[in-house]
Amino acid sequence: MDDTIVAISTTTGVGAISIIRLSGEEALKIASKVFTKNLTKEKSHTIHYGHVIDNGEKIDEVLITVMKSPKTFTREDVVEINCHGGIATTNKVLEVILKNGARLAEPGEFTKRAFLNGRIDLLEAEATMDLISSKSETARKISINTLTGETSNLIKDLRNELIQIISNIEVNIDYPEYEDIEQLTSTKILPSINKFKKKLQEIIKKSEDSKVIKEGITVGIVGRPNVGKSSLLNALIEEKKAIVTDIPGTTRDIVEGTIIIDGIILNIIDTAGIRESKDLVEQIGVEKSLEIIDSADLVIFILNNNEEITEEEKRLLKKVKDKKHIIVINKIDLEKKLDRKKIEDKYIEISVKENIGITEIKKEIKKLFNMGKLKTNDLTYLSSARSIALLHKALSSIDEALQEIEKNSPIDIIEFSLKVAWDYLGEVIGETYTDELLDELFSRFCLGK
């Protein structure tokens, strides 16, 4: 909590204004060093007009908001700089601030400080994080829903269902001789666990869809040098605007370009070599391609119609099959030298140069992500990566329970996995305490000596 952190807090490249936010003890001091006016003596919650200056040179015309501790988001001194000059200038301003003593914030660090300083609770922290980074109207709606607790209710219902099963088993154990409570055996609980599993799977699916709506899809374009990766990117974007950041590490994935299809954002991530000028030989290694394949939600793999398939391409083709992918054969305007049989997969034939097949690619993307069917009016689903990961963990615990039933294990062992699943669900909403279970026991069952 000692140093002062800084980050671009608006999404890069979206919107006309970018906001750079500083938080920490030296926020005012550092901002003053790069601004035309000394801000350290200014009152809290005031706005100041001026320029950001680096070595006497005006970088951007900005508005600066001064907010002093404790009435700020992080409860520390906060300065927000509204930049007007587009992405390149915003990055330049950030660079100047970094040079003057601030540290680049880690992802979510502002919210973490807000949380640690007691400004917000855990769920709020997550929802705020979502709200800040939400790029579209749909995404904003999901964030608001999380804040109002509809998501919590969804999980509460799920947990409630699970605890009915658990408490019935617990009663059998703690009151072994009470005949009037049904003695649960593994075969008896099987239907209810299967039913529960289905429900959980449904929620996971919808949550993942909801994540797509909010965070978009990460797309990697992979292919040999000169196969036409940058041309395809530009064709998809429809205007020649590849966004490039100069400061390494300002964002986690370097987003080369953003396409919006049916309101869903496609973030095209670092397609190595794409920035190189055409005169230079692109040096795309297999390793780099593998990295891209790993981190993308969707891989577009481009082959050249005019050349034979290489061994490296064959290897990458295999790797791509585990992912959502589209195989594209470019340059169909040239002589056909590629043997289609060697692909052993579906493919789309295109020519970026002649503008053939671009629409087909977009259609395929829509199909792969079920975009037409993503409901944007039903947004009570979880969408933070953490929540979805926890739901998956809960699901695999349920699967473990089912395996134990299969193996005819004792009921206590089966219940163990159910409880783990219940705890994971509790973690999503920040509750895992066993008193709930006891309350359930005593309110539902007639027990006593």
Partner: protein
Amino acid sequence: MKYEIIVVGGGHAGCEAAIASARKGHKTLLITGNINNIATMPCNPSIGGSAKGIIVREIDALGGVMGEVADKTLIQMKMLNYAKGPAVKSLRAQVDKVRYPREMLNTLRQEKKLSIKEGMVEDLIVKDGTVYGVILNTGENITSNIVILTTGTYLKSDILIGNTRTRSGPHDESPSLYLSNNLKKYGFNILRLKTGTPPRIKRETIDFSKAKKEEGDKKYYTFSHSNQHYYDIEKQDPCYLIYTTEETKKIILDNLNKSSMYGGLDDITGVGPRYCPSIEDKIVRFSDKEKHQLFLEPESHFYDDIYIQGFSTSMPRNIQEQMVHSLPGLEKAKILKYAYAIEYDAIYPTQIKPSLETKILNNLFTAGQINGTSGYEEAACQGLIAGINASLKLEDKEPLILKRNEAYIGVLIDDLVTKGTKEPYRMLTSRAEYRLLLRHDNSDLRLSEKGYSVGLLSLEKYQKFIQKKENIIKLIEKLKEIKITVDTEKRRTTMTVFDYLKNPNANLKEVNSLFNLNLNYEDEIIEEVEIQIKYEGYIRKVEREAEKKLKNEAKQIPENIDYDKIPNLASEARQKLKEIRPLSIAQASRISGVNPSDVSILLVYLRKYYNE
């Protein structure tokens, strides 16, 4: 006459406390209202039960006496939850209500460092926040270094039947009239609790042909790890199962306002336990149920009383007569003792440290019902811990504090001192999040080392434990070497017995005879090894989970921490932390009302605090 330790109250907590102190070599005095009522069982005639049976095993592994005394005096024994999983198996014995107290008194009398005195303690000798002894109702002062209060239900207790309230303890004993007021004067917050007991029926007036017989197990079991059994499995006393009738329900509903709890008395303040409701509670709360299960349990070979488990009530006597006569086989039954509810004072257990010494007065320990619990086993284990820790304090040693992953006793005490309780607290397996580790079979493996190192467990028992531990290791090693060939549905495979046992349906005893392995080990070793191998995956998982959660146990919070100086704590959390004053971050995180964000804030503050 000066003593090192005075124990006030001769119930299950008091007996364990007194014996532990005396065996550890400290001059101890046990003061009790009536020497003939030492270790009596005023409620159900059984010891053990789900989770409770494991507590008795733990008491035995630490060097306490309840297990041995129960073994010597039981008249029926059952292993509950046998098929439900290794962690939830638990013993329950029907115990002879005459022989148990007699046997306990004998045990007490064998302790040379222990004296027993009849008397009623009404006040403590207190100076500058420290206790120096007790004051009896006769005015007599007896001094000691440490006092352990195990007063049970005798603090300002009232017996409630219908519209009558009588100041009395169980067995028509006189209660302590002023001690709880005096505790209040010293700064304790007092809690009023309530419990109840069913009527006792003359055996020969019951027609048992209308009831279903419930026999004991046809296999020998013991609470004690000495494995010495004193009963004959062929001569166990049966219990009987019956159900309430429509008429029972009608009588209760027609007369509901006569029950003390439903209008018979208008000054009820005690909070009763949810897990032990009266029959009128059950009928009212679960009105859609046609009948409720009742057990007829024998109390002793020396007298005729039959205990109706499940039928506790505070109805007036004439209504109790009608209720009892509405039960099948009890149409002509004679009631020997009427049911009653009892209200008594306890202290809020959050005023106690995990060692069971109170936070309010130095050198004062409390155990049993005064701490808000219910049940003989819950009382006994606290008495044992109080006795041990009082002695350790005299010896200037660190207290014995069992963790939640080490013993049910640890769960119980941590729950009490961290969360407090609003109703009489009973142990349930569901309270133990690491119950897969807290098993019947491994109680000695978990606790004997501790029992021995605090100086309570006898050398003989300790050596038996060491032997068992070695045999377990030896057998496991052996099973990793022996290979057997088995036919599965698909194919014939050769594997080690160790691997074969991971199959949930595998049974080591069967394998032993089927393949002529000649493994000559005692049953308990075979069982232990089988559980360890079969559930290894789950046990590891729980161990890791416990480790992760209890890591914060090592992060101590300084005793003099000023919670008002920590910025940004939520006000509820601040208030709870000030009240409970947890010893570690782990304990703090278990307090209800202290949220993860509060714990983070506390951690951040402590980091600064330690840096300075």
